[in-house]
């Protein structure tokens, strides 16, 4: 009994010690997830400005001509996507010969670079091997991205586009679409119009249609490039691998195909009024999708099976959206009196549609169909029509009376001419 008070006191002391020591240990432990205790004043600084990512791209090592052209492809890609400021190579102070494929941080930091891309072309004859590296100075002098490509010299542009896609994935989390292509129609002479395909940056322009008659309203799809061909009695739909065969035909006009979900959606006047129809990709199983006395044209496949189209059912041409079976028709443009040529952003989370609107002249707009926020892409810059989003929705292409196909970012900035010459009804994939 005499020891009881002593034991109680000892127990109380141990308990008190535990209460002090345990929390103290958690405070002193440098846990990355647990903030250190605040000392003194804390001021929150937010609302930073945004700036372009400064990146340096010296010419590729190895073959001088190929190294220069390869680097130029990269510089062009990263400049047009409106996320990068490609530094002038004349400002570089680094000893490129001594560095080789590696980098030293200080000379690149001195010119303001946040990233550096280096590459080397090895091999001879027609077979080359290209090693590419990306350095992010914020992460040190070890390459954060390394790729090697093998193939013919003619594939160098493709290698550079692929590497640029990977650079975007590394830095932003989403790959780029620099290896994509555009299709469009172009008047080739009196009574003649052809469908063309080109790299998105304007290289490798080639004709798709057979060079006869009027070919227009192209679209990507299984079997090649789908387009409409004018005849003396109407129009039919074919594609580039059909050797001129009429895939979808009927009375009147059959035009403007867009392919998604294994079906082709197109405009037809076979029933006496312009309506939207769908068919299997072999032209069978034709179904009427819209049933309205107004004019319904220009179907455009979108994310989630949505179909955008133009209709005059509310008095003036406006853009509507419906399901793949024609259900749930709802209007999505409520500003302007003449809106047409809808084109979806393929990323479903964006809810973006680009279209041609008439406000003075023809200009390019985008609308968020969920929030009804409109953005004007062009104004006072000639006549601009037929927009198309890039597959990653980072760029919008459109035909402009300023001399060809232009590319801009989704806010309308950084507009650049990429394909010279008249063009219409663009698609981009």
């Amino acid at each position: 009994m005499k020891r009881l008070p002593t034991l109680l006191a000892l127990g109380a002391a141990i308990a008190a010690l535990a209460l002090v020591v345990v929390p103290g240990r958690s405070q002193d432990r440098p846990d990355g997830d647990q903030p250190l205790p605040e000392r003194g004043v804390v001021i929150e600084i937010d609302s930073p400005e945004r700036s372009l990512y400064k990146i340096a791209i010296p010419n590729l090592r190895g073959n001088a001509a190929l190294g220069s052209s390869g680097a130029e492809v990269l510089r062009n890609d990263l400049t047009l996507v409106s996320l990068f400021q490609v530094l002038d190579s004349r400002s570089f102070i680094a000893d490129l010969e001594r560095e080789g494929l590696n980098i030293t941080a200080s000379p690149w930091s001195a010119v303001g670079a946040q990233g550096v891309i280096k590459g080397e072309i090895r091999g001879s004859g027609n077979q080359i091997e290209v090693e590419m590296r990306l350095y992010e100075l914020a992460r040190g002098t070890t390459a954060t991205l390394t790729r090697t490509y093998r193939g013919g010299q003619g594939e160098l542009r493709g290698f550079m586009h692929q590497f640029a896609n990977e650079v975007l994935r590394q830095l932003t989390g989403t790959a780029g679409s620099f290896d994509s292509r555009m299709i469009f129609a172009r008047r080739a002479g009196p009574g003649r119009k052809d469908v063309y395909i080109a790299d998105w940056d304007g290289h490798n322009v080639g004709r798709v249609s057979d060079g006869n008659g009027v070919n227009m309203l192209p679209s990507f799809g299984p079997g090649g490039i789908w387009y409409s061909k004018l005849t003396e009695t109407g129009m039919f739909i074919t594609h580039s691998n059909a050797s001129g065969r009429r895939i979808i035909d009927g009375e009147g006009l059959n035009m403007g195909p867009t392919v998604c979900g294994g079906r082709v959606y197109f405009t037809s006047t076979r029933d006496g009024n312009s309506e939207i129809y769908s068919a299997a990709t072999d032209g069978t199983d034709v179904r009427r999708i819209t049933r309205h006395p107004a004019i319904d044209v220009s179907p455009s496949c979108g994310p989630g099976g949505q179909i955008a189209f133009v209709s005059t059912r509310h008095g003036s041409p406006q853009i509507f959206v419906m399901g793949a079976d024609g259900s749930g028709v709802r209007r999505v443009t409520f500003r302007g009196e003449h809106n047409q040529t809808p084109s979806w952003c393929a990323r479903g989370d964006q809810n973006l549609l680009a279209f041609t609107g008439r406000s003075g002249g023809f200009d390019i707009f985008t609308v968020n169909v969920a929030t009804q926020q409109y953005t004007r892409i062009t104004q006072g810059q000639g006549s601009n029509k037929d927009p198309a989003f890039s597959p990653d929705c980072r760029m919008i292409a459109f035909a402009s009376s300023r001399g060809g196909i232009f590319i801009a970012n989704p806010e309308g900035a950084n507009q650049n001419l990429v394909i010279r010459g008249a063009a219409e009804t663009l698609r981009w994939r």
Partner: protein, 276 residues
Amino acid sequence: MYRQPTRMHVEPKDWTPPSALHAAWLTGAAIVGGLGFSGIFALVIGGIAIGYAFFGDVLASVATEDDAPPVVEEREIIAARFVKLGRDFQQELPNRRVPVQDTAPPDTTAISQNPRERREMPDAGPRPPNPMDDPMTRLLNRADLFAEIAEQREQEGSPDGIEEGTETTASAGDVYAGQLYVFFRRGWTVPETIARDQLRDLNVDVTITVGEDLQIQSFRTRGESANADFDQSVIAQIERLRAQGVTIPEPPLLVRPDYVGTPFTLRFRGRHASQP
């Protein structure tokens, strides 16, 4: 003749206060009176009860219209749906938003290197009286002056506040903290390659030590965000300010010990980044 007072004899019972527990025997009259009163009281209460039971039914049978319970008619209740207040319907397509071009030279110095310098401007002297002013003009001018004063008096916040402020009253510490917010934020940029939804959740702490000369002596980052480019943008911002030798705004005496010679923390957060 004086008489010797006699000794008073007091019994204990004389000091005992009267108590009901020590009641004396009741007299006959008291008993009769008590019984009589009880009987009368019982008769009165009983009579009231019997009377209410009888006459209450009679009164209820001749109730007036005001006393009749209301007749509830069953009817269908239709929930009303109200139209919400909407915004003005915009008919026209919008104009293009052109990014503001910053044509001013880069702001390499946040504040004066010598904040204590003051330039004394020469006094222009009193304004000469204009003999053409008529009383009505003077009255209108005076009214404008009062209107301007009233307008100033109605403004919220503090003339020493910042545009980004949200509070209308401030202590010296809050006002100065706002000035430091502007000082350290100016010129801070993050690269476009950081997606907006990621940028919103990025933050990094920097502990700053400022010397008596109000220049940044040292700084240290505490932890890191999930994006190295974001961290680098913060480091670059602090390094730029330190390399330029700029001085922080003069702190009020009351809060000076919190900022001069004592480390304080800046928490850089990527939220509310500017639109491109």
